[in-house]
């Protein structure tokens, strides 16, 4: 093993060096560039793929990837490259919206449990436990069973399904900071509880919210596309990744590219957000 065993010394000095900014690793650099491209594709798809994503050309149907059609064409001869690029904004929007719903609801529940009375805490914690018994996609499906399918219900369902996870993290964070030596030191100075909460507890406890949201967008895109793939989200022929995948499902044997490229786009977003989210969270931990 090339890892240098930590030298157990009586004195702690290395912390100072831990906060020094580490340069981006190769993987992180790739992730950052990828995310940048994705954002450009979402904001200005025309810059990358000038072709019309909805233009039909039946003669070109099922064309394999080539110079003319880098990602091939679908069953109606539409250019898949254009469709993937133009689908970015819709897919990302679903992911971002779902994450926003989940994080906001998670914040409400987490803060209620974290700073509320014992009773509130127990009540919210129990509720979260119950919701954990219905794991993500299943909870989303149950919600769709009541609300009905479609892109908006799917987004809401994914958002609601992710909320318990966020709520639990926020609750734990708040509790941890509340019992920290830092808060104790502020109390010794004579800080009022309300000010303590606003000035120390919440800002420190909720600092990871950005990280979690970053990580969450990737996951939400995957879930939302799973719902579309199962026929419960965006319907075809909208250029949305999940819907494109569902369309490609039928032709998997003859046109693998109809599945491969939208799928790769999803993996790209999910992986890039994971890598960057992990770096952010490591930095947060370093600073504590």
């Amino acid at each position: 093993m090339t890892v240098l065993p930590a030298l157990p010394s009586a004195v702690e000095e290395p912390r100072a060096s831990r906060t020094r900014r580490r340069p981006l690793s190769v993987v992180e650099a790739v992730a950052a560039v990828a995310l940048l491209v994705v954002i450009v594709a979402a904001v200005a798809p025309g810059l990358i793929a000038p072709r019309d994503p909805l233009a039909i050309a039946p003669t070109d149907a099922f064309a394999a990837p080539s110079w003319a059609h880098p990602f091939g064409t679908d069953d109606s001869g539409r250019d898949l490259f254009s469709r993937v690029v133009h689908g970015t904004s819709a897919s990302l929007l679903i992911g971002v919206a779902a994450t926003a719903i989940g994080v906001l609801l998670g914040l409400v529940l987490g803060i209620a449990a974290g700073i509320g009375t014992r009773v509130t805490d127990v009540a919210v914690s129990r509720l979260l436990e119950v919701l954990f018994a219905l794991p993500g996609l299943l909870l989303a499906l149950v919600i769709i069973a009541f609300v009905g399918p479609g892109p908006v219900p799917a987004t809401i369902a994914v958002g609601l399904a992710t909320a318990p996870g966020y709520a639990r993290i926020f609750r734990t964070q708040i509790r941890r900071v509340r019992s920290s030596e830092m808060v104790e030191a502020a109390r010794v100075l004579g800080r009022r509880p309300s000010v303590l909460l606003v000035r120390h507890v919440l800002p420190n406890a909720l600092a990871p919210v950005v990280v979690l949201a970053t990580l969450g967008v990737g996951q939400a895109v995957v879930w939302a596309s799973s719902l579309s793939y199962l026929g419960l989200g965006s319907p075809p022929p909208a250029p949305e990744w999940g819907a494109m995948l569902e369309a490609g499902r039928t032709y998997l044997g003859v046109a693998w590219w109809m599945t491969a490229f939208p799928g790769a786009a999803i993996v790209l977003v999910a992986a890039a957000t994971t890598v960057l989210g992990r770096r952010l969270s490591r930095r947060n931990r370093g600073m504590r």
């Binding site: 157990p8 009586a10 100072a16 030596e181 830092m182 030191a185 100075l189 004579g190 800002p203």
Partner: protein, 580 residues
Amino acid sequence: MSGGTIGVAAVAEGAAGASPGSLVVDDLSVSFGSVRAVDGVSFTLAPGECVALVGESGSGKSVTARALLGLTGGAVSAAALRLDDRSLLDLTEREWRRLRGPRIGLVLQDALVSLDPLRPVGREIDDALRLHSRLTAAQRRARVLEVLDEVGMPDPASRRAQRSGELSGGLRQRALIAAALALRPGLVIADEPTTALDAQVQRQVVDRLAALRDEGTAVLAISHDLAAVRRLADRVVVLRNGRVVEQGPVASILGSPAEPYTQALVAALPAGKPRGARLSAAAVGGGGSGSGVGSGSDVGSLADAGSVSDVGSVADVGTRQPLLRASGLGRTFRGRAGDLTAVADVSLEVSAGETLGLVGASGSGKTTTARLLLGLDSPDTGIVELLGEPWNPLPERERRDRRPTLGAIYQDALSSFDPRWTVARLLADALSFGRVTRTGGRASERRGASADDVARLLDEVGLPRSVAERSPATLSGGQRQRVAIARALAPSPRVIVCDEPVSSLDVTVQAQVLDLLDDLQRDRGLAYVFISHDLDVVRHQCDRVAVMSGGRIVEQGATEAVFGSPQHAYTRALLTAAGA
């Protein structure tokens, strides 16, 4: 396996002295990338001898020790590196493995994490035997019991099956030593073997290592604790920044050091220095991250440097009214499997300009007492009075306005700071409490004044003004503790409760911080409650001392009286253990 059979057989018989363990280290260097952690270190070690590597953090002493085990992970080079007649340079991993255990044993600090916390200690000792001998399971078992018995483990048969977390600090450290001694290595390397242990346990460990040396084993001790080194070592090698500063017999190095650095190290030791004597007069600014921060001696304005005791007059407190007084404090924690009485019937008081020491082993109730004094926890019985008025128990709302009178300093300064704040913001925030500042009452006006106030505060604790805009996480341990002290001072308190304020600092930094606390006490007439497990520090720093054991104060009185002629059996045991 081939070739090693004879050696293994000898080890298996456990014949003492099978490997005498004479060590030659000549011009040893270890680099990690471009960083040279050890640079040209040379020393020798003979069987039956103990050499101590001494230095502060970052001095390269631990890396040197690991180089002798082939476990540095860096690039090792030396003119010679020999154990007996065998060169330790360019060994393969396989060859190293055959030496580790039978020929060289390693004892680390803190057995709680140096033994696998998930496995019984007997298994850990057994591992060494299993790897290096052909003993049967029954024979190994017998040997495990034998070794445990040798290190003085009571009831080895049942202790063997316990994990490090289930054993007390002393017992688990013995188990760790037993694991290193199972194969009777000729050379034992003890890396900070006494750090973080209570005085009595420290004494046991030092005695055990001394006995080992007397039996003919070569012992290489690594420590920043010069007191322990003095009791154990024959010769001392002083390291700094990876180089040898000086080396020689323990008496001459610690008695009359030649090099300024060693002089500073020795001067910084609180042991035997009377109350008020300066420890950091010959400050060398060691231990810092090299950022050139003014050490205590830069603060000439408030410290008449070098002078020994003006403090006597301040400490001479007879009839003054106590600032903080606790009477009959009791606190019991309710648990599932029963109650734990953390503090029982604790009464103490401290007056202006006075330092009250609170000593005792870990778990004796010192920290709970501190929390009760600070009003962070409510007592089940008894009362705390601050400036003659009731303080705890009292609803927080009714005492909040008086909080600025009472400050606190913690062991881990960093975790008591808001990690998002700079030093300036931390101090400005603390300044907004307490008495209305010179410039008036309104918050907006105060903000204008605080840059000056912050600078004044930094001056007072001997920090350069440039640290104001830095985050505490980027400061060295000593600097952080100074920031913590500055923050405690900001609201102009009368009493400060210090919970192990220097326990995680290097000895020269510790000296500076202790001197700083003394200076501030003299200037501001502060009262300190000073909690520490280090008897030498307490004896040097405190006017009066209270000894705690099992949640009670067993003895209390003037420091020299308590240390000079202890009345209670526990105090005597504590002092004997500390070698005082």
